[in-house]
Amino acid sequence: MSSLQNLIDNWSQYRKGIEQGGFHHYEHRWGMAIDLNACIGCNACSTACYAENNLAVVGPERFAQGHFMHWLRVERYWDQPDKEFPEQGASFLPMMCQQCGAAPCEPVCPVVATYHTPDGLNAQVYNRCIGSRYCNNNCPYRVRYFNFWSYYETSWPEPLNMQLNPDLTVRDKGVMEKCTFCVQRIRTAKDKAKMENRKVKDGEFTTACAQACPTNAIHFGDLMDPESQVTKLWATHQVSRVDEQGRPRHEQDKKNPDLRGYRVLEELNTDPSVMYLERVRETLA
């Protein structure tokens, strides 16, 4: 009965879609800016992610089957198919969960194992997941990884398991997992801030990948905090999540089109939280 009351009371609020600002009043909106001009594709971020997030090592056979678990993969594209040699080098793209504001993965999970947190993250609750794998089917970036096997024994033979990070679980077979923006670090930082009755400061903590990146290509921060480095970067490159009416953008209209900021597959209206800065190369005759 009370629930019915609640329904009637907050009706208008519950009927808000993301166009009207959605249901959430974000405390934070964690986001990233990745500079492809700086990225050298060295994999440091990826390995740091393995170390931080208890990612399983699956071995060659399963890797060949596509059972790999790297939450953060560094993609490498060759841009000049016609040339005899790749004369301008490779195009590297670190791709992790984009933590979409309108995530296609969220509404399709039958048991709400994946949902939207007040921090603007796509949460994945491992022990609620029943492994229907609909979320990954619906993820345009294919950045969700499924535990096809039980990797605990094979991936962490004694005493390798002593390295496991106690702040998050080791996922067992049948569970979907993905990049969480190192939610355990976020959690710790927020708890710390709360204990000191303050808000989380920018740069107080960062994700494992951003921390490891030798060229500082990855910037992590709170998009709600106007002072944070990431917010500034988004601003300088005139990339914004929402337009004047507060509707999520599926294309940016920049005053200065030369600026490098863009979001991958933005046109699908997924409202990603990760902005990429375009790769730069000299134009040589």
Partner: protein, 176 residues
């Protein structure tokens, strides 16, 4: 007031049986009205049932109620559940998504309708019950039966009536 005897006539010829009922209807036998007649037939048999005059059926009301109940009930339930949910799997959608909910409401409407129709059937057809002692396998095979509840005096005339319409077999019992 309670009748004393129960009488069943088995006919192999549907036409004759129909005629017999029309005779009863025409009060050929005093004190026996067509209302007392129960027709027991192997197949669904409109022609003969005409003879009994129209007897009402009320299943549809069960169905209607069931459908509405399913529709509205499920709408309230689902929306309320969504509203009081711990977290919101939004994907940018509102919390209470009417369109998607309607899909479920639609299914629930049909389910409610079907279930209550079943109940309606059981209630309306007085099932489950017992076939009764007079019941004979022949009915389920190919014979049609006319069952009446009558008093002592009416027995003889009825039997003769049945015999006019060359009844195959007559069974009777005393109601106690």
């Amino acid at each position: 007031m309670k009748k004393s005897h129960r009488l069943l006539g088995l006919f192999s010829n549907f036409e004759e049986a129909t005629k017999a009922i029309y005779d009863i209807r025409a009060n050929k036998v005093s004190g026996v009205s067509v209302k007392d007649v129960t027709l027991i037939s192997p197949i669904e048999h409109p022609e003969v049932e005409e003879a009994l005059g129209d007897r009402g059926v009320h299943v549809q009301f069960f169905t209607l109620f069931g459908g509405l109940f399913g529709l509205i009930g499920s709408w309230v339930w689902i929306s309320a559940a969504q509203a009081t949910f711990l977290v919101q799997p939004q994907g940018g959608k509102p919390v209470v998504t009417l369109v998607t909910n309607f899909v479920l409401n639609y299914e629930m409407m049909i389910l409610g309708g079907v279930l209550f129709t079943l109940i309606g059937l059981l209630v309306g057809a007085r099932l489950p019950s017992r076939p009764g002692t007079l019941y004979s396998e022949k009915i389920s095979l190919d014979q049609i039966g006319i069952l009446l509840e009558v008093n002592e005096p009416n027995l003889a005339p009825l039997k003769s009536l049945f015999h006019q319409h060359n009844v195959v077999e007559i069974r009777e019992e005393i109601i106690r």
